[in-house]
Homo-oligomer: 132 residues x 2
DNA sequence: AGTTCGAATCGAATATTCTCGATTCGAGGA
DNA sequence: TCCTCGAATCGAGAATATTCGATTCGAACT
């Protein structure tokens, strides 16, 4: 919609310390103490993330934000959906902490909050491709 | 319910080749060609995985199966929900390829199909804990 | 001030998912 | 064979989520 200056990338916050911890030692293994009863709060946390990702339009939004931020109006074009629909999905993603916003004049730019979200999509894709 | 012999663990299939590929090089980074337009089939694949995980009872089932297989009746006790409810959730997880079954007499034992599912939960938990 | 544009939110119709009693099915016994 | 137990499935009501027109809000401009 506009060719104004963009913060192309590098502004997405790095993955959380916990996720970095997952990267040490045997890659992506034994991130948590293995045999530990899980709490309700942790289940709720996982649930809120998965609910935020369990929608086609929201997945498309995240995929579109892989290579950098986009404003809401650009996402409307990409999704080919009305403003209120896209706005609702963006609000859900923001509430879930998946995306962050930056305001510039009357435009609102969205970006991925944590690259761990993208790893999540990659893992899900690999998982779905492996069993068919 | 019963103290019959169990295949305690080691029977869950190893993560898919694609996921193993993700483990090489810089851990859990650049698993996919980076700048590549995603297809509808891939979105559908991601979506089916996330939809299967976007439910509290199903997450509890998966967490319960972390340290080995369990039969349906044991999961009914753990979830404290009626047989038909638990059975429905188990069917969904099986259809999504998240769990596999083994029949022994009149019992059906469930186990995690791919450890990548557990990594998915760990990542989601870390993500939800990082932004609060 | 008023106007316009982009975006957030409201609210109600629609669509999807969840729950769970009831039924069916299959594997062992008696 | 009949009976029982564990589990899969059906079906309908309840709960949740999605859609999107309409409204509101804020920033920029006149």
């Amino acid at each position: 919609m506009t060719d104004r200056a963009r913060i192309d990338d590098g502004t997405t916050e790095s993955a959380s310390k916990t996720i970095n911890r997952m990267s040490e030692g045997a890659c992506c293994e034994e991130a948590f103490p293995a045999n530990r009863r899980i709490s309700d709060e942790e289940i709720d946390g996982e649930l809120s993330v998965f609910k935020a990702l369990a929608n086609e339009k929201r997945l498309r939004i995240i995929e579109a934000l892989r290579d950098g931020e986009l404003c809401a109006c650009e996402l409307e074009t990409i999704l080919d959906a009305p403003q209120s629909t896209v706005g609702t999905h963006l609000s859900r993603l923001r509430e879930a902490g998946i995306v962050r916003t930056r305001k510039d004049g009357k435009w609102t730019y969205y970006r991925i909050a944590d690259t761990a979200s993208l790893q999540l999509l990659d893992l899900a894709r690999a998982l779905s491709e492996s069993d068919r």
